[in-house]
């Protein structure tokens, strides 16, 4: 760069000294080093600018929820909040368990058995997200007197997805069963979700 413009201007020193055998000048080295350092620095600055939009510490601190399920009677469900989203906790009646197990798993859109979706020894506790896997509405069926849909589980009023008693998708546009979050029983009656 310096050579081409330098010659036109009297008195501007054109750098021909400091040559080594390969034709790499000291100025080339400094140029590449400086631009390289600026590039690395510029990319490093992106890290805080991007990660500041990720969930902050207070949001992450709310990422697990403890729920006392002792008051949930068979045939009843409660809605809890997990990561600012509805969580359905439902104690199935023997009839509902039977209905869920009677279904041929291979005929399902998202094949899972009821046992896959509950914890051992607590097959009657169905804990799922209350978020329709179609576009995220809250399905009906957990509240008292709400429409449980044609399969007796949950029914999403937005676009008509119907879930069965194991909260598996049976009809409508949703692609997946209602998600079962990661959870564990910390005692017989307390569930820690997340």
């Amino acid at each position: 760069m310096a050579d081409t413009t330098g010659d036109a201007i009297p008195g501007t020193v054109t750098v021909h000294d400091a040559h080594d055998g390969d034709g790499v000048r000291r100025r080339d080295f400094i140029n590449i080093a400086a631009v390289g350092a600026a590039g690395v620095g510029g990319v490093a600055v992106l890290l805080p600018l991007i990660s500041q939009m990720a969930p902050s510490a207070d949001v992450l601190a709310e990422s697990s929820t403890e729920i006392d399920v002792s008051s949930v009677q068979p045939g009843m469900a409660i809605k809890a909040l997990f990561r600012k989203q509805p969580l359905f906790v439902r104690r199935l009646t023997p009839a509902e368990i039977k209905a869920a197990n009677a279904v041929d798993v291979s005929s399902l859109r998202d094949p899972e058995t009821l046992a896959d979706r509950t914890k051992e020894g607590h097959e009657d506790m169905l804990i799922t997200m209350g978020v329709c896997t179609h576009l995220g509405c809250v399905p009906l069926g957990a509240g008292e007197g709400e429409n449980k849909g044609p399969f007796g589980g949950y029914f999403c009023p937005c676009h008509g997805s119907a879930y069965d008693t194991a909260a598996r998708i049976r009809k409508g546009p949703a692609p997946k069963n209602l998600e079962v979050p990661e959870y564990e029983f910390t005692s017989d009656t307390v569930v820690k979700v997340g």
Partner: protein
């Protein structure tokens, strides 16, 4: 808008040629900060601060927009939302410190930029418009900086807002209604905080627009230089790129090292501990001072302690403080000397280094000191000199002083000789 020997933008790549036809943005950049802008070859490091100020503006806008994603402008939660940024948001501490120290850095480079203008008389024709827009940018920056400082809603924020809006209360008759109107209440509260946040977000973009006008106005006569003599011919200039992009790049590197020292090692050095206490309308902090970049003007405000003829002291202080900056608008016409650079103005130079600069230093120091003796008296002396310098000394000096001989051209100033000076129309017989 440029010298006849300025290089022309000639895109080689077909895509760039297509773009040049439809939207010649690369051409604009090339002519503004590329090879197409010829710049005096003798600029020293004082000419780095314009670019650094531009960098600071971008830095403040980027970090500010990010902080606004996490901040809540509500008097009930503003203080804790700032603590949320410091403790919970990923890298929030770094972004907030970068913004707070970025404001200090911005004012630091702007002050050096302005003092460059004072010493080299950059405000003189044909660059008066550049100067006027520059002073306007400075005023906008002060408003933006002040309103930003209110947002954390700490003790200093609250009392700063109260005191500064109180300045308007000094205006006779309409003062108090104006103050109440500005605050949307009788004291700073939610209404004030919300409007300050809104304006604090808006003004930087107004500044960005003014900066574009500032650069536009500058590029019509072209940059000034340390000799103060105008460019005569091609050998007086070099293209902005690569010469001044490299020089500015080096300056930016030095600036960033100093900035990072403040940001990572002394992040609260320029702040006030009281601002980590939530705003309390019932208790004023014992020692209330603004941020360091307002100190000289704050000292002028406090210098007026007794009524001045029929003008009450309170109003006089406010008038003096605003006049101290508004004065700069008249500088191109107060300084009548034909020679620009302080290097060739022996008398001007004496008053600059031994008058204006010490007075500003005293004002700066006293502005940060408590309102007691001897600081009040020192502020009064320095304030008196400050106005005397611009209103009396500078006009007289510029009329009576005999400048040192100027070099024939920038080329001669750099090389010690200019063949054109001997052979050209200015040739002295017998040389």
């Amino acid at each position: 808008m440029s010298f006849p020997w300025a290089k022309h933008y000639e895109p080689v790549n077909p895509l760039m040629r297509y773009l040049d036809e439809k939207l010649p943005l690369p051409r604009l950049v090339y002519n503004a900060i590329g090879g197409g802008y010829p710049v005096p070859r003798n600029l020293n490091y004082m000419w780095n601060f314009g670019v650094l100020a531009g960098f600071c503006l971008v830095l403040q806008i980027v970090t500010g927009v990010v902080l606004a994603m996490h901040y809540a402008a509500n008097a009930g939660v503003a203080f804790s939302s700032v603590e949320h940024i410091m403790r919970d948001v990923n890298w929030g501490w770094a972004l907030r410190y970068a913004h707070a120290n970025g404001a200090s850095a911005f004012f630091a480079v702007i002050y050096l930029h302005i003092f460059r203008g004072f010493f080299y008389s950059s405000y003189k024709a044909p660059r008066e418009m550049v100067w006027l827009i520059g002073v306007t940018i400075f005023l906008l920056m002060m408003a933006t900086g002040f309103m930003g400082y209110v947002l954390p809603w700490g003790q200093m924020s609250f009392w700063g807002a109260k005191v500064i809006t109180g300045l308007f209360g000094a205006i006779p008759v309409v003062g108090e209604p104006i103050q109440i109107w500005l605050l949307g209440g009788y004291a700073p509260d939610n209404a004030a905080l919300n409007r300050f946040f809104s304006l604090h977000f808006l003004l930087p973009f107004v500044i960005a627009g003014a900066v574009i006008l500032h650069i536009w106005a500058l590029h019509i006569p072209g940059s000034s230089n340390p000799t103060g003599i105008e460019v005569k011919k091609e050998s007086d200039t070099i293209p902005f790129h690569p010469y001044y992009t490299a020089k500015d790049g080096f300056g930016l590197g030095v600036f960033l090292i100093l900035y990072c020292v403040m940001l990572f090692l002394l992040p609260n050095y320029l702040g006030h501990p009281d601002n980590y206490i939530e705003a309390n309308p019932l208790s004023t902090p014992a020692h209330i001072v603004p941020e360091w970049y307002f100190w000289p003007f704050y000292a002028i405000l406090r210098a007026f302690t007794s009524d001045f003829f029929f003008i009450p002291a309170k109003l006089m202080g406010v008038l003096a403080m605003f006049s101290a900056i508004l004065l700069w608008f008249f500088l191109p016409w107060l300084d009548k000397g034909p020679v620009r650079s302080g290097h060739y103005r022996p008398l001007f130079r004496k008053f600059f280094w031994f008058g204006l600069i010490p007075a500003m230093a005293v004002l700066f120091y006293c502005g940060g000191a408590p309102a007691e003796e001897p600081f009040v008296m020192l502020s009064q002396l320095a304030t008196a000199y400050y106005f005397l310098h611009f209103l009396v000394i500078l006009p007289i000096v510029s009329m009576i002083e005999r400048p040192d001989p100027l070099p024939y051209s920038i080329t001669e100033a750099v090389l010690g000789e200019d063949k054109a000076a001997v052979l050209g129309e200015n040739a002295t017989p017998g040389v």
